[in-house]
């Protein structure tokens, strides 16, 4: 026997509704996700730009400070400053110098090196 049409219309069918809701949620979620992702890319891109600029600025500052240290260590500057401050500094006389005789680890190499030849500060071997 066929069902009453009135009763049939009143019946709530959850399956299709759920499907529609899920489909809508998926579409909305994808759209929101897409926009969020784009926004994140934009935001991260801006952060990268800012940090690159900051890094460049810090490198420049670092260079400036290194130059300043180099200038303050410069023997010419130190000589001028010592003279200006009138500290009464004078070079040590040879008779005032106590010398250490170092035993060479590699005599051949040591002979090749001049006494006046100093090791260079900061040189990478």
């Amino acid at each position: 026997m066929a069902k009453n049409r009135k009763n049939q219309a009143a019946e709530i069918r959850f399956g299709p509704v759920l499907k529609v809701v899920l489909l809508c949620a998926l579409i909305c979620g994808s759209a929101i996700g897409y926009v969020w992702q784009k926004s994140q890319i934009q935001k991260l891109g801006r952060q990268i730009s800012e940090r690159e600029a900051k890094l460049k600025q810090l490198n420049n500052e670092n260079k400036m400070l290194a130059d300043q240290i180099a200038f303050l260590h410069n023997p010419v500057m130190l000589d001028r400053r010592a003279k200006a401050l009138n500290l009464g500094l004078a070079p040590a006389q040879p008779t005032q110098v106590v010398r250490l005789v170092e035993l060479p680890s590699n005599p051949a190499q040591d002979n090749a090196r001049q006494f006046a030849q100093r090791p260079v500060a900061g040189e990478t071997p």
Binding site: L44, F71, N74, P75, P94, A116, Q117, G122
Partner: protein
């Protein structure tokens, strides 16, 4: 009726779709290249990443030349409109420039130009340069001032277009391009060795790209190594000209230039320059030069020529301040006697004890009369060096023979460049024997008829100090990255052995007598070291003859004589208040030598020192013990 309407509608729709289809084909296929380029032009940007020019350092890592990041402040007048005066009022005081000049530059204007199709079109000016070498802090102040810039709205609300205009004016009308400024922290110290730069500009798409190019010294000689390689970035920007990092297409970093480490020691250079400056004041010569070299390696610790220049001010540099050590040639005078005497000793033609008749100051040879500055009778070979007898040297030269004399002079490096990596080095003049006059054989041994550079003369004496081995002069020690890692190291190079070690020892014995009370350079003697050296006093040759009263005076020596550590040369051109090499250059040599010995901690000659502190031997355990 209905069918007719339907057909009409169909025709209209078909026509509309056909029109749209054609437009689509037109845009996507027919005009694809043009529109694609236009779209790219709107968003795509290509930036050049300039490399940082390498530093020039001395042997101890002290900076002689460096590059400081600065800004070039530019403007886009098309974004400024009628506000050029208002903007000029804001930025001119910060740039310390004239307000009117800035306002004129900022005034929008157009110019005629040809487009790609060859048609004359009117373009708006988008790029003017306001100031170069602006410090980063100044640019930050300009940027802050511009972002706060506003114009008088008389209380009314700005329209959308006005707001957009103001925003562009605040953020984009004034902008900065990264640049670098070459700085020499020590001013004129070693200025001629380091060299000076010039800015070369190329126009790339309406923007000037500047590059530092060396014009002298190491800056010029090592241009390729110092300059580095530019990088680039191809990326896209949004409407506000902010980079869209995700669309960054190509990103190749610039490769910075290498640091050039010299053999120059700035402390020794300072010692030499101050000593030369004192002598310049005392003797007022036209020029004075000084070189300090390690004879065993050929490393140049100092090279100075006064008058010099400050590379920070290239506009003040004149030809007078050239590096005369390598560019100028002069007749060497008596210093050249070392060539003939050492050659004769090496060939076994003479011994140190052999005696020569110095003819009491007058010797006729090949139709000319040679003179000595004092009348000498019999002198030994050693005595000829001690007293610097021209006649004695001429007689040794005659005994040695022309071919041998030429051969020794050539082997000592005269008439050729030494190979020092500095621009402008002269060869000097050493004629082949076939071009000699008969008298040349007597004149060349006393330093006439040859032209040499100051460096060549030092180079020759350093060979005698180094057991007869000629070492190529070294001025560049190594190339390194900015973090100190070495890319290339230059090692001392032996050129050839000119005389035997035995002959060099004999020659040194003779040269030791020069800086004694019997010699010509008693003033060059040092308190704690035995000095070996030779004086030179050459009359200047001008317009085919010798000019009375004009001399080139010199003293070249090394110490400790038996274990040479450094070789020093001092040369004055036309000194006043005396002109003998030993008298005017000897004291300068001694001054430089004593200060260098103290700085370089060179052990004194045991034979000359008393009350020397005992030597302390270091043991393996690191504790010192008395020997």
């Amino acid at each position: 009726m209905q069918i007719r309407r339907a057909v009409l509608l169909l025709v209209l729709l078909s026509a509309a779709f056909a029109g749209l289809g054609y437009r689509l084909v037109d845009l996507q296929i027919l005009r694809h290249d043009e529109l694609s380029a236009k779209a790219q032009h709107n968003t795509q940007r290509e930036y050049r990443q300039a490399p940082r020019r390498g530093d020039i350092l001395d042997a101890n890592g002290n900076i002689l030349a460096t590059s400081v990041p600065v800004k070039t402040v530019c403007a886009d007048p098309s974004l400024i409109g009628s506000n050029s005066w208002a903007v000029a009022q804001v930025i001119a005081p910060l740039l310390q420039l004239n307000e009117t000049a800035i306002a004129q530059k900022l005034t929008p204007r157009s110019f005629l130009a040809k487009n790609s199709d060859g048609e004359t079109v009117t373009n708006e000016l988008h790029y003017v340069r306001l100031a170069k070498n602006v410090p980063e802090e100044t640019w930050q102040r300009i940027f802050a001032a511009m972002t706060n810039f506003t114009f008088d709205t008389q209380g009314r609300k700005l329209s959308r277009m006005e707001r957009e205009f103001l925003q562009n004016l605040q953020w984009h009308a004034i902008y900065a391009e990264a640049d670098q400024l070459r700085v020499y922290p020590n001013g004129s110290l070693a200025g001629q060795v380091v060299g000076f730069p010039a800015i070369e500009e190329t126009n790339q798409n309406g923007h000037f790209v500047s590059q530092i190019v060396g014009r002298d010294g190491i800056e010029m000689a090592m241009q390729k190594q110092l300059s580095g390689v530019a990088g680039w970035r191809v990326t896209e920007t949004d409407k506000a000209q902010h980079e869209m990092v995700a669309w960054r297409d190509e990103d190749v970093s610039a490769r910075d230039g290498l640091d050039v480490v010299l053999t120059i020691d700035s402390a020794v250079q300072h010692i030499v320059e101050t000593a030369l400056a004192d002598a310049l004041q005392k003797h007022t010569p036209k020029s004075i030069t000084g070189i300090v070299m390690r004879p065993r390696t050929g490393e140049i610790l100092a090279m100075a020529s006064l008058p010099n220049y400050d590379p920070n001010q290239p506009s003040t540099i004149s030809p007078e301040s050239r590096n005369r050590v390598i560019t100028d040639v002069v007749e060497p005078g008596s210093t050249f006697k070392i060539v003939v005497v050492s050659g004769a000793l090496n060939s076994g033609v003479v011994k140190l004890t052999d005696e020569f008749d110095c003819e009491h100051g007058h010797f006729a040879y090949a139709g000319r009369v040679l003179h000595d500055h004092e009348a000498y009778g019999m002198l030994t070979t050693e005595g000829i060096i001690t007293k610097s007898s021209n006649i004695g040297a001429a007689k040794i030269g005659i005994k040695l023979g022309a071919d041998e004399l030429y051969s020794y002079a050539w082997n000592y490096g005269f008439g050729q460049r030494t190979g020092i990596p500095l621009p402008g080095e002269a060869r000097g003049i050493l004629y082949p024997v076939s071009k000699w006059y008969k008298v040349s054989l007597a004149q060349i041994p006393m330093g006439h008829g040859v032209m040499v550079t100051r460096l060549q003369m030092q180079y020759a004496l350093a060979a005698i100090a180094n057991g007869g081995w000629l070492m190529r002069p070294m001025i560049v020690s190594r190339l390194q990255e900015h973090d100190g890692s070495v890319m290339e190291r230059y090692t001392p190079q032996r050129v050839r052995q000119v005389i035997s070690e035995a002959a060099s020892k004999q020659m040194i014995e003779a040269l030791k007598t020069v800086a004694t009370k019997d010699g010509t350079a008693a003033e060059a003697a040092m308190k704690n070291y035995v000095v070996a050296g030779k004086t030179g006093t050459a009359q200047k040759a001008e317009n085919g003859g010798y000019v009375p009263g004009k001399y080139v005076s010199s003293f070249i020596g090394f110490f400790p004589a038996d274990n040479p550590e450094i070789c020093i040369s001092v040369v004055m051109d036309e000194p006043k208040e005396g002109y003998y090499g030993g008298k005017v250059c000897g004291p300068v040599f001694r001054d430089i030598a004593e200060r260098c010995a103290s700085y370089l901690n060179i052990p004194p000659d045991p034979s000359l020192t008393t009350n020397t502190p005992p030597l302390v031997a270091a043991t393996n355990s690191g504790k010192g013990q008395m020997p």
